[in-house]
Every structure is written in structure tokens, then in C-alpha cells.
């Protein structure tokens, strides 16, 4: 049987090219063409234009590129609001992805077991992913409201915050009737991170579940027969096998968080006080679109590119290496 399959495989390679589409190179080029030409025209051209904008001084008022200059970059770089936004990009992405990847691991492991009501649980966990970010974030805007926050209501009723009108009531967490989640920089930063974790958790969990299902049950059984504790099993067996897919989950999380403008734009509008929780995307939107300074907007966003490219290349390489081993 083996001999005959070998012969057949060999003859497959020698099938004469009956149609021009059987020419592999030609077919490859034809199949790649629609996507390729579309990307060159609608991503390539605007990308080059955006770079040119950043090296010129175009505004909505004078949209002609007159000459190339580095002045825009100097102006953008020396702006303290830009520096803050750049720092925030790293801070928000690092914190939210650290928390997301840990939580998603725990949740994916818990969901890997069979239990009653699993369908409903999966549905409830997928909800944040199924809501447009802008609307989900508005939901959180109310959750974190300075007066009506339902979280504050719970805190008041368990004694963490002061009850209005109750004599001698003292808040354990804060001696006030409300937390003012979006009212000061530290809490506002925590709120932005929280919303990012909330919206990325479903996708990261699903990706890690995908990784867990690819680990053969035989390996788990063998490990459990050996009587290894769950921590060692996770650390020495599951984690190394899961590494490529963990990196992919992390990579998507980083890309989505690092480039996001919606959460900050809807939740804090960059405040409080103004421009302390701004990120590069929201700052570019304010400068480039609302302020009409196209070149400064473009120059601001360009600072995302080296980070995104570097992180992606590094992570994809590591993911591939651990797969080969």
C-alpha cells in the first residue's frame, strides 16, 4: 500500500498542465491579485499620504503639501500632552493586558471542565465581546457615574462609603458618599484599565480555550496518574504547551488596546484634569480631526508604529519557535 501511494504522489506532481490555471505560479498570482491590489490602493496609498502629512504642515484649511519638514515632529514631541499620552498608552496596555491574560487563563481552565449550565455561562461571558465597544463603554460610564453609580450604591450599603442622611455614618474606603471614579487621575486610570480588561477578556478566554483543547487529553491523564499537583501540572506541562497560543492572545490584546481610542474618548474624554488620561489615538483625533491639524494628528499616531511592529514580529517569532519545539 505504501509503495502505491508513493507512486501516486509522484505522478500527481507530473500531471500535465491541462489548463493555464494549473500553472501554480500563475494561479497563485491570480488568487492573490484581488486582495493585493485592494490593499495597495486603499491601505498603501493612504499610508504613504499619512507619512507625507506628518512630514509637512497640512491643515484642513490648507490641505496642499508644500514641502517636507521635521518641524511638525518637533512640535508634537515637545508637547507635554503628547508625552503623557505616550506614557498612558504603555501604562494602560501593560496593566490591562497583564490582568486580562491572568484572568483569561483562570477562566479558560474553569470553562474547560464540564458542568451544568455551561451554555448559559459561556453566553454571559461572551456578552462584552458582542457589544459595540462604544456602547459597552457608555454602559460603564453609568456604572462609574459620580452620582448614580450602582457600584457606589453597593459600597454605601456595605459601609465602604458614607450613607447620606445617616448620622455618624463613616465610609471605610472613602469618607464620602461617592467614589467619583472618573473624577481624579488614579481612579480614572483604573477605570480605563478595568473597561479594557472587561472588553478583552472574552476574546482572550476563547483563544486560550482554543489552546487548551489542542493539548492532548493523554498528556493530562499521564500527568494526573503521576500525581503531580495542579500548580506543577499547570506550570510545567500546560503553560509550555500553551505558550504559542498565549502569545497570540496577548498579541491581539496588545494591538487592540494600544490602538484603541474609543474607551478613553467615551469614558474620560482624556481627563481629569484635562489631558491626563489621553492616549495617542484620542490625542491624534482631538488634534487632527477636531482641531483640524492633519499633520500633527498623523505625526502623533506614527509613534505607535515601531512599537506595534516590534512587538508583533518578536511575539510571532517566539510563538513559531515554541511550536517547532
Amino acid at each position: 500500500v505504501t509503495a502505491s501511494t508513493t507512486v501516486q504522489t509522484q505522478s500527481a506532481a507530473e500531471v500535465p498542465h491541462r489548463y493555464w490555471l494549473d500553472n501554480e505560479r500563475l494561479l497563485g498570482a491570480v488568487m492573490l491579485f484581488p486582495a493585493g491590489i485592494y490593499i495597495i490602493v486603499l491601505v498603501g496609498v493612504p499610508f504613504v499620504l499619512a507619512i507625507l502629512f506628518a512630514f509637512s504642515d497640512v491643515t484642513v484649511g490648507s490641505p496642499e503639501i508644500k514641502g517636507l519638514t521635521l518641524e511638525t515632529f518637533q512640535r508634537v514631541l515637545s508637547d507635554p500632552n503628547f508625552q503623557r499620552a505616550l506614557q498612558n498608552n504603555f501604562l494602560f496596555t501593560f496593566l490591562s493586558q497583564l490582568i486580562t491574560i491572568v484572568l483569561a487563563n483562570i477562566l479558560a481552565q474553569a470553562l474547560a471542565r464540564n458542568f451544568r449550565g455551561k451554555w448559559l455561562v459561556r453566553f454571559l461571558i461572551l456578552l462584552p465581546w458582542a457589544t459595540p465597544i462604544a456602547i459597552g463603554t457608555i454602559g460603564w460610564l453609568w456604572m462609574l457615574d459620580s452620582v448614580y453609580s450602582p457600584i457606589d450604591w453597593i459600597f454605601r450599603n456595605i459601609g465602604l462609603l458614607k450613607q447620606p442622611g445617616v448620622l455618624g455614618s463613616v465610609g471605610l474606603l472613602k469618607n464620602s458618599t461617592n467614589m467619583y471614579w472618573l473624577g481624579e487621575p488614579v481612579l480614572a486610570t483604573m477605570s480605563v484599565v478595568l473597561v479594557h480588561v472587561w472588553r478583552m477578556l472574552p476574546m482572550s478566554t476563547v483563544i486560550i480555550m482554543a489552546g487548551l483543547t489542542s493539548i492532548s487529553p493523554d498528556i493530562r491523564d499521564a500527568v494526573q496518574v503521576d500525581g503531580v499537583g495542579w500548580w506543577r501540572e499547570w506550570w510545567e506541562v500546560t503553560l509550555p504547551l500553551l505558550r504559542p497560543i498565549l502569545l497570540v492572545a496577548l498579541l491581539f490584546g496588545i494591538i487592540f488596546t494600544f490602538t484603541d481610542m474609543t474607551v478613553v474618548y467615551v469614558l474620560t474624554r482624556g481627563g481629569p484634569p484635562p489631558n491626563t488620561t489621553q492616549v495617542l489615538a484620542s490625542w491624534a483625533f482631538i488634534k487632527g480631526i477636531q482641531g483640524g491639524n492633519l499633520s500633527e494628528g498623523a505625526a502623533t499616531v506614527i509613534f505607535m508604529l515601531p512599537v506595534l511592529l516590534g512587538v508583533s514580529l518578536a511575539m510571532l517569532r517566539v510563538a513559531r519557535q515554541s511550536e517547532v519545539r
Binding site: 489548463y19 490555471l21 493612504p46 491624534a284
Partner: protein
């Protein structure tokens, strides 16, 4: 079941309950708020999680009678379906080509595809706004249908390329020995095997489209052409006035059916993703 296993499954339920509270808590509140009167909602002392006054339907009526919400939903669906179709039509052949036919270039072009996805919309939409004007698509959902594949096609091609690589080439070669042309073998043998991968890119393309906010905000200002993400955030927030209950209703009405559909396909999505992302 021995005591240890009961303890383990108890712990499991505990962990899952905490997570469900975290993810679904805002939705529970949104659901309640949808049917609340304003008197009930705007009283900080009221328990926010129950009806302190009898529930009403006025907020949903406001959403459908006094805003273009029905058009927002329809536009979101039209844009979503059109973008998914365009994405599948472009990404499937491109992914196959990169996985099988492009030789050593395939790998590099595949990575390049992913890099294209990394260019943030916040950078592209400034020049893109000129493209939209030139094409005469300003203020129409056509702008979104033309532009959204700029992020769905690179992403989906990359993901599907990984999936295609995991399908053994032998099955195709066997079909060619049996007398099919290369194209015939692709259509009859490879595509059916690639279905979980295609399903994965359909889910991703639709999700990315539904979440998109920046292009939609910048290119469409006419109310009847808006999609949910921009329509709700611009028409139900007028200055400082938020129509909170109607906004929450708008969110719930979208989230529940989409989450149900995702859940139905989750297992096949997981199968598609495992192969796609790791081999890619």
C-alpha cells in the same frame, strides 16, 4: 464523587460565578434600566438592581419611534454582511495562494499581511477621508463597505493562511490524480476542509466591523445612514443630556442576539482558531 472532587467542582463554580458577575453585571443593570422610569433611575438612594417603580416600555418606544434606531440596526447588518462577503471573497483565495502556491515568498507575504493590519485606523483615516470624498461616498454606508475590508482582509488572510497550511496537501494531490484540475480540487476538497477556518474569519470580520467607531464617526454624519456604534452614541446623547435607558436598551438589543450566535458557533470557531493562529 468523592469529597475532593466535590470540593474541586465547588471551587470551579465559585470562580465561574465571580467571572460571570464581572462580565455580565453591566448587562444585568442595562436590562433593568431599559424598563425603568426616570424617577426611579435618577434617585441615588434607590436600589439600582430592582424596579422601585413598575417597569415601563416608554424607553424602547422612544428608541424606535423617535430615533433612527431601526435604520442603525439595518445599516449595521448591511455593512456587516457586505464586508464579510467581500472579506471572504478576497481572503480565501489570497490565503490559499500564500499557504500553497507562493513558495518561499508565501511566508514573508503572510507576515507582511499581518503588518498591514497593524497600521492603525487613526493614522489612515485622515488621508482616507479624501479617498471617500473622491469616490463620492461621504455620508453613505458605501464608505464603510469600501473601507472596512482594509482591516478585515489583511487580518483574515493571515489567520486563514495558517489554517490552510494545516490541511495536508496530499488530499488535494489525490483529487488531482483522480482527474480534477487544481482549481477543481481546491473547490471540492480543500474548501470544505477549510470551513472551520472560514467560519472563524467570518466571526472576526463581523466583530471588527461592528466594533469600528472611528471611520464611521468621521465619514457619516447623516442620521439615517449611521450604524449602531455611532448612531446611538451621537443621537441619544444630546449635549450633556444622555437618554440613558434608551441607550441601554439599544445595547442589550444588539448584544443578546450576537452573543447567542457566537455561542452557537464557539466550538467550531475554537477549532478554526487553534489551527489558524498557531501555524500562521
Amino acid at each position: 464523587m468523592n469529597a475532593r472532587e466535590i470540593g474541586k467542582s465547588g471551587l470551579n463554580y465559585g470562580i465561574i460565578t465571580l467571572f460571570v458577575i464581572f462580565t455580565a453585571f453591566p448587562f444585568y443593570w442595562m436590562l433593568i434600566a431599559t424598563f425603568k422610569t426616570s424617577n426611579d433611575l435618577y434617585k441615588p438612594a434607590n436600589n439600582p438592581f430592582i424596579f422601585n417603580q413598575p417597569p415601563i416600555l416608554d424607553n424602547i418606544k422612544l428608541l424606535f419611534n423617535q430615533t433612527n434606531y431601526a435604520s442603525f440596526v439595518a445599516n449595521t447588518l448591511i455593512v456587516g454582511v457586505a464586508v464579510v462577503l467581500i472579506t471572504v471573497l478576497m481572503a480565501v483565495p489570497a490565503a490559499y495562494s500564500l499557504a500553497r502556491l507562493a513558495g518561499p515568498w508565501g511566508e514573508k507575504l503572510g507576515i507582511a499581511m499581518f503588518m498591514v493590519y497593524l497600521i492603525p485606523p487613526t493614522l489612515l483615516f485622515i488621508p482616507m477621508s479624501r479617498v471617500v470624498t473622491v469616490l463620492g461616498l461621504r455620508d453613505s454606508i458605501g464608505s464603510q463597505i469600501v473601507i472596512y475590508p482594509t482591516f478585515t482582509v489583511p487580518f483574515c488572510t493571515w489567520l486563514l493562511m495558517g489554517f490552510m497550511k494545516s490541511i495536508p496537501p496530499d488530499v488535494e494531490e489525490q483529487a488531482m490524480v483522480d482527474g480534477y484540475s487544481r482549481l477543481g480540487a481546491i473547490v471540492r476538497v480543500t474548501l470544505p476542509l477549510a470551513l472551520p477556518g472560514i467560519l472563524t474569519i467570518v466571526v472576526f470580520a463581523f466583530t471588527l466591523t461592528m466594533h469600528e467607531f472611528i471611520y464611521a464617526l468621521a465619514f457619516v454624519t447623516a442620521s439615517e445612514h449611521k450604524v449602531i456604534s455611532t448612531g446611538v452614541t451621537t443621537e441619544l446623547i444630546r449635549g450633556d443630556v444622555f437618554f440613558w435607558q434608551a441607550i441601554m436598551a439599544a445595547g442589550i438589543i444588539v448584544a443578546v442576539p450576537v452573543a447567542i450566535v457566537y455561542n452557537l458557533f464557539l466550538d467550531r470557531f475554537i477549532a478554526g482558531f487553534t489551527l489558524g493562529a498557531v501555524k500562521g
